[in-house]
Amino acid sequence: MRLTLEIWRQEAPDEAGRFVTYEMEDVSPHMSFLEMLDVLNERLVDEGEKPVAFEHDCREGICGSCGMLINGKAHGPMRATATCQLHMRHFSDGDHLIIEPWRSAAFPVIKDLVVDRAPFDHIVQSGGYVSVNTGSAPDANTIPIGKERADRAMDAAECIGCGACVAQCPNGAAQLFTAAKVAHLASLPQGQPERYRRVAEMVETMERYFGSCTNYGECEAVCPKEISIDFIADMNRDYLKSKLRGGESG
């Protein structure tokens, strides 16, 4: 099939970018979206141009490297699908695709479609863990955890840190990402001792970089792991509790 791509090209963080149009012929429906871009890049290099920079690694929807806005939707038109898992069979001949990088003050563009997502790491660094040193753990089965609870923790823990939630949120909020980590640990007995301190630190770090949540729910809709915004409610409650109790653990 034939496609027209309009891709954001930007040489460097402080340089102005622009959209450049590329015509693609002979796109196979079995290709993945990133393979389609690979083909474009091979052509660009052969034509003496610079290839389009985009991040990717695992190409199976788990590392969270890839991500771009395709026709206004983070990760493209398919629900629960990261860009690298998107296949061209979901597009039709003659489609016109506009491809943009994640946009958010906290995620400055480094080049073309590559953005800097370091603030996500800072959020986790500020408290997204259980403080347990290697070697000090009791036998794994001494803490029974019901299946439902474990499943719920896993639902939240599945977040791949791709940043689509921030990209799609009109407020550039990282609520879903942060809530997912908070909820993962808060659902488990291991996470209890630091529960309220953790949420306070993580929310405050989040707010140093990102916008606030108006509960639009856009994030949930584009999240490749379908993380639910219910977790945002849980995080808010824990945060309020931590503040009203003066940060004590409970």
Partner: protein, 235 residues
């Protein structure tokens, strides 16, 4: 107080305060709408209701005392709500300085996307509404309360409402404002559960339904007043 101001420094805290102020405002709107239903019981009842409002708490409180307490609470709620809304809006605009060339809402409701404009419309409405039905400033045929024999005050709220709504564009503006309020509540009521992390168990689909029902009740009630007057069923 330290904790509250601490809370206010964070956006999540601000949202919580917006939610709490939103509950207060919603409570007022709901009660206000319910009270105004007396319009359908005729002039006497409605006017008596207006008078009664001022007598709540007497003799423990001076006349209109309870009303003033309520007014202050309302005023504080409006203040917090608006200041927080403004600050959060600015924060969010800074967090997303560059928009997308092509972006459509994926699942965000129309109501959620119009919270800010909706809020402004409501604010303008309230100002107009006070000038109109409380102080009469913009009401050409306003009947002010009169002290009658026996020291009692008489109100003709019924008259003010009916004559006010007979002007078609006044009614029109009221209706538009009520629809805006309805949308604001539809998202706002759901959103406040989310902002406060209520209820304790997540995944409660009924939060949306509760929000929809209450928003609908308030809107239908309020919109019915100007329509009934225009339609000639009241007055």
């Amino acid at each position: 107080m330290g904790r509250l101001s601490d809370l206010y420094h964070s956006a999540v805290g601000k949202k919580a305060l917006m939610a709490v102020s939103g509950i207060v405002l919603f409570g007022f709107v709901l009660v206000h709408m319910a009270g105004n239903l007396k319009l359908y019981q005729g002039a006497e009842k409605l006017n008596a209701y207006a008078a009664w409002l001022r007598q709540i708490g007497v003799p423990l409180l001076p006349e209109t005392g309870a009303l003033w307490v309520a007014r202050l609470v309302l005023l504080a709620a409006v203040g917090i709500h608006i200041v927080a809304a403004y600050q959060l809006t600015r924060l969010n605009q800074r967090a997303r300085p560059v928009g997308y060339r092509d972006r459509s809402a994926v699942q965000a409701t129309y109501a959620s996307r119009t919270m800010r404009w909706g809020g402004v419309i409501i604010l303008l409405f309230v100002v107009y509404h006070l000038l109109h039905l409380t102080w009469g400033t913009v009401h050409p045929d306003f009947v002010h309360p009169e002290v009658v024999a026996g020291g009692e005050t008489e109100y003709d709220v019924f008259h003010n409402v009916v004559t006010g709504f007979r002007v078609w564009w006044v009614s029109g503006f009221y209706i538009v404002a009520q629809l805006a309020l309805g949308l604001h509540l539809y998202h706002g009521l759901w959103s406040l559960f989310q902002s406060l992390g209520l209820p304790n168990q997540s995944a409660q689909p009924w939060r949306r339904r509760v929000a929809a029902v209450f928003a609908l009740v308030v809107t239908v009630g309020n919109v019915s007043f100007p329509i009934s007057v225009l339609g000639g069923w009241v007055g």
